[in-house]
């Protein structure tokens, strides 16, 4: 047998040397104090219904040119809204506040088994509607700005269609509206899921179950390479702190109320009713032509959960003539947390809102 010529001994000795160095320094970082708190921007809870809270972030150091219309951020029912406020200096919420926007955000809380019967209609026409009315009342305005994120964006679209008079401007970010695509694995897999069996068996769909599904979307990167990267950078305190913050956020995943999951999977992922204006909520059809307000639709070019194909059809199906698609060079989460993208994402929204604020004056 001829030798392969692979310098295995050299490779292994290099690897051992670098590992030893890294681990010596890493112990100082891991055993010392590290700041890993998330969601530190101060807020008040101004409305509460069942498990759902409406957060109002303190508008400190408000600049002179602030946006008159308050903004409500509607996050998905999967994972938590804390992603928009991961850490001071890298917080989307803080950036909005610094740019003079009144920020409200819905905290969906942690559904328990008693919430399994709560439907998509209860979320859209109940919790979101009540939160919007609360903000309208607090600011004495007839309509507010809404920014939806992922599934929260889909629910924002539904709300804006059913209550167009209460939405001044709509921003959808990484929002799936066209589910009939095989570009994202999630879309492919969801077509093979028996939602009825899952909900009838488990009631709510566990956050851990869904997180495991998300990890399986790219196990090589999410279950292996990510932690190899951590091992390589353990001696970097800032890296460790950011990494742990992200781990805290990503595995803090509430369960999804069973009936909501059932309808979202069946009506959206499997029948693709939303984009066809055939989805029914509370006995009414969600007609996209009712979306006559300005619409800004932002999505990620490399989003593996909600690919561009799932997002980009929306602007062509709504009734509004003021629409804009923005495709950023990033993934699903990168839009909000990557330092490069945040320099484009928040300024774009602020500018877009300020322009429409000025037009309405």
């Amino acid at each position: 047998m001829t030798p392969s010529g692979v310098p295995v001994d050299l490779i292994l000795s290099k690897l051992a040397e670098s590992t030893e160095k890294t681990h010596t320094r890493a112990s100082d970082v891991l055993l010392g104090p590290i700041a890993t708190e998330i969601a530190q921007t101060p807020y008040d809870v101004v409305y509460k219904e069942d498990r759902v809270k409406l957060k109002y972030y303190h508008p400190e150091n408000r600049p002179n040119s602030h946006v008159q219309t308050p903004l409500l951020i509607i996050y998905a029912l999967i994972n938590r809204e804390t992603m928009l406020d991961l850490q001071p200096g890298r917080s989307v919420v803080q950036n909005f506040l610094d740019n003079g926007i009144d920020v409200y955000m819905i905290d969906w809380g942690y559904p328990s088994q008693k919430d399994k019967y709560i439907t998509l209609d209860d979320h859209v026409n109940g919790y979101i509607h009540n939160a919007v009315d609360t903000i309208r009342g607090r600011h004495s305005v007839s309509s507010i700005n809404i920014m939806g994120i992922c599934m929260g964006g889909s629910m924002s679209v539904m709300f804006a269609s059913l209550h167009p008079d209460k939405v001044k401007n709509l921003i959808t970010t990484v929002t799936p509206s066209n589910f009939d695509t095989d570009k994202g694995l999630l879309h492919v897999w969801m077509k093979h899921i028996d939602a009825d069996q899952l909900v009838d068996t488990y009631g709510n769909i566990s956050g851990d179950f869904m997180n495991f599904g998300f990890l399986l979307l790219n196990p090589a990167r999410l279950m292996l390479d990510k932690y190899v990267g951590f091992m390589e950078n353990m001696e970097d305190r800032e890296f460790v702190e950011n990494f742990v913050r992200m781990e805290k956020w990503i595995f803090d995943s509430p369960d999804v109320p069973g009936e909501t999951f059932r309808q979202f999977v069946k009506d959206c992922y499997q029948k693709n009713l939303l984009i066809q204006s055939r989805l029914e909520l509370g006995g009414k059809i969600v007609d996209l032509k009712n979306l006559t307000m300005p619409l800004l639709n932002i999505y990620g070019k490399y989003d593996h959960l909600v690919p561009p194909e799932a997002c980009e059809l929306l602007t062509s199906r709504v009734g509004s003539t003021d629409t804009e698609d923005v495709c950023l060079d990033t993934g699903h989460i990168g839009i909000y947390v990557s330092s490069k993208t945040r320099k484009e994402f928040v300024p774009k929204i602020v500018k877009w809102l300020k322009q429409r604020d000025a037009e309405s004056d």
Binding site: Y117, Y202, L216, A220, R221, L224
Partner: protein
Amino acid sequence: MDESSGKSLDPAAWFNLWMKSASEAWSAMPQAIPTGFTVPKSEGNDSALPKWAEDQVLSWQSLVSLMGHPNTLAASLQDISRMPESFFSLIFPMLTSAAEIHQKHMGQMGKAGDFLSSFNFKDPEKLALDQWSALYDQEFRKFLNIPQLGLTRQYQEKTNRLMDRFNLLQAALADFLRLLYLPFEKTQADFSQKLVEAAEKNEIPKDPKAQYMIWLKMLEGHYMTLFKTPEYLACLSKTISASAEYSMAKKSLMDDLLKTMSIPSSDAIEGVYKEMYDMKKRIKDLEKIVKTLIQR
């Protein structure tokens, strides 16, 4: 086996012998207890025994004298002597059918070899799992589906269902994990091949990180290919379904257990949750109506 040893194992003969000795014991009982037996009395007391013990002795005495009466004894022993006949007429078919089931079971166990004879060693992991699933489905599963009888039949059925669903889940999980391991296997083979080719051209990357990145990209690519295959989609769906069915079977059995401990079952609690949900919804609707009326 000789004739005498065959006879000694005959259950009918055994039972007759036992009943005969029991009858003789009952016949001898009246003679063993004296008929003139009286409860002893102590000084100062009417009886040396407490009242309850005195009553017990008197009851026992009455029973024995009644059993000792020739007519009663004869009638009782006649009935007892008839028992083995009726008992066996009941038991024998059950024993026979149980023996038949056992024989069939053993026969089916023997048939396991038929499956293995067609075993193909090209893809041993997949074939082993497929063969096990087919073997379980066709030969073993039916024994867990035998209709259960009697007062506890539904509990036995639920226990059998849980065992069945557990076995199905194990089979589905094993197949799912096999599929998830395939990209690693393929990556390992491809990566080794690539390294050998690079070594031959003296182009092998000396930085371990660069090699790791090549390996990782290969692994990622193989996973992406796998995840879109119909085989993976079917396996994913089957595993989730098997897990749900196992959970349902476990819940059903657990609910019965909770009922015996006076703890509300999940079904009962779900009913309460549903009522709470409906009530809250009605209250919220009424609140809105009241608000509208007040505003008017």
